[in-house]
Symmetry: C2
Subunit: 333 residues, 2 copies
DNA sequence: TTGTAGGCGTTATCAT
DNA sequence: ATGATAACGCCTACAA
């Protein structure tokens, strides 16, 4: 029995093969529980069936990274989709792009998903590795070509929540989020897209936005705590509703407000973004903008697979958002 | 220049080597940004530097697996520790042990961490793969030998929370948790250890435990919802405090109680287990038992590395718990 | 329809 | 102090 025959069986090239040979090979394969050695496969053909999920947040961007439901959901749904498609997932949680490059080369990674990386990192990976790369939630430029990113309708999210708050009678609405410093004006950052949605909604309803209503929150938990505490002591700068860039920050702030003697929503209305599992299970339930984390992960893998099949493939996906009203917003006026 | 010489440089076997040769090799290595091919390494030596994290929960055990802060924290901290020690992490989220075995064989996995697996799975992996395996939170038997598990002081956790509730004047205390059906009486399950801590604390304070105060919660969200709703309508079977097996379930239940018109903690005191990040950020803050998820992940990797160095190594680690008082428990009497 | 031979990149052993 | 060679397991092209 020669290796070729076995290889043919393994790869289903059983067209013109003696049925009894096939039988014999099959049964031995089954009996010995044969498993192909991936090391040899990497060496032999040039394919590893490995896809890397790179988590590139700096610790100061996502301090509670590990307990972050967004990151956890992405890891889980990406792994699942990768496995269902016959690939394996290497998890690599490192913002150092040089080390990511090394890892990818060492393992002959066939495709890469980038989470929390910068725009230039995306291009660097594709250029230096010459493998398909899909990013999740990267900021993008309108003129980007061949840049496969899975993002969200952030602008629409900012807009629909603001319109909801306005529909509940609010006229003085604050917006608070982590905002990356955009040096390049042509780059659309995630938070600035939401901010723009908020601003446009306000403008469209003839409402002015005071400068102090827009707050860039700190990435450090204590500083952020101090920021919202100051805001409460300034009686919210006159705002009756506050729209936060994430549910986590909205809940965090709500706690501080209560400590400062303000009730939610009686004294201040609060809204978030993400619709984390707990949002609807709290009292008061949190008004928020729903996004589907798992869908994002699955979608990223699907886009990657398309890109692996067709290197010329390009797309700019923006997954839909949905308004989730909640008790944390009071109807006024 | 021969491959051997280069290999020697790569592995630091530069003892009796001409300094200039070393220099030359080094500089070429640096210039070309040489990265060793892991496929070839797997084939050459018998080591892959791969550690697998197997997540083996059945979907009905952890329905919201992906957004579960416990699982997310473990994934993150395990990856980090693995990487810091020069290994790579393969994430494999599959309860099918046959497929896990296949994967491990295909990749020449050097070590394995099992999360959410059964006791017999642990033994099967070690037996069939002959590689070091560490489990996290597996149930265990007192007489287990060579079974490396990283667990928690569950009994103590159950006890200290119950004693806290008693110290706050509660005498009628309920315990609610997912509980695995223990067929083997010598096996100590995680939830039953906590239950025992609860029972012992009650007994030690001369308090009787009525049968209906101990509830086995369903793994299905809707059923669980119905269970706690019924409980509320039965006026908590006379209990003044309820101790839940996890923060997530405590918060979930608290929401149902409010829907049914009961206030926490005025009408019913509630306590959880885990100390998830949100527990302290809610109003009322949740009384809970703290466990450190990330420590568990790091610890599992450390134990695995020890086991990889010394195949005879054995341990049974139980990480400490800590009481976290909270506003969700009212002082009565 | 099946067998043979060479190559993939690395390591270990042995020879120079 | 360096080089040659075989082996690791699989794949492919070509030969029989």
């Amino acid at each position: 029995m020669s290796p070729t025959t076995v290889s043919n069986v393994l790869h289903g090239r059983t067209g013109r093969m003696a049925p009894e040979t096939l039988q014999k090979v099959q049964s031995i394969l089954d009996q010995t529980r044969y498993v192909s050695n991936m090391g040899a496969q990497i060496l032999g053909r040039h394919g590893s069936r490995l896809i890397a999920l790179i988590i590139a947040y700096y610790s100061y961007e996502k301090e509670s990274l590990l307990e972050d439901p967004f990151v956890g959901s992405i890891m889980g749904s990406v792994e699942q989709t990768i496995r269902e498609n016959g690939y394996f997932m290497m998890l690599y949680n490192n913002p150092d792009m040089d080390e990511c490059l090394q890892m990818a080369r060492a393992w002959n990674i066939e495709g890469m998903i980038l989470l929390g990386a910068q725009r230039q990192d995306y291009y660097r990976m594709r250029r230096e590795l010459k493998i398909p790369v899909v990013s999740i939630d990267s900021c993008y430029r309108r003129d980007d070509r061949g840049y496969v990113n899975v993002g969200l309708q952030d602008y629409e999210g900012g807009r629909i929540m603001t319109e909801y708050l306005i529909s509940q009678g609010h006229k003085k609405i604050g917006y608070l989020a982590l905002m990356q410093n955009g040096t390049d004006p042509s780059v659309v950052y995630l938070d600035s897209a939401r901010l723009k949605g908020y601003e446009d909604a306000m403008r469209n309803h003839g409402l002015a936005v005071k400068k102090e209503w827009v707050t860039k929150l700190s990435t450090a938990e204590e500083e952020r705590d101090a920021q919202v505490r100051q805001l409460a002591r300034r009686r919210f700068d006159g705002c009756t509703a506050l729209f936060f860039g994430s549910d986590a920050m909205a809940l965090e702030a709500a706690m501080v407000f209560r400590q400062e003697g303000f009730r939610v929503p009686e004294d201040i209305s609060v809204a978030g973004f993400d619709n984390i599992r707990l949002a609807s299970r709290l009292s008061p339930s949190l008004a928020t903008v729903d996004q589907n984390f798992e869908q994002k992960g699955r979608c990223a893998v699907c886009e990657l697979l398309k890109l692996m099949r067709d290197p010329g493939y390009s797309s700019d996906i923006r997954l839909p958002v949905r308004l989730v009203p909640g008790e944390s917003v009071r109807r006024i006026g």
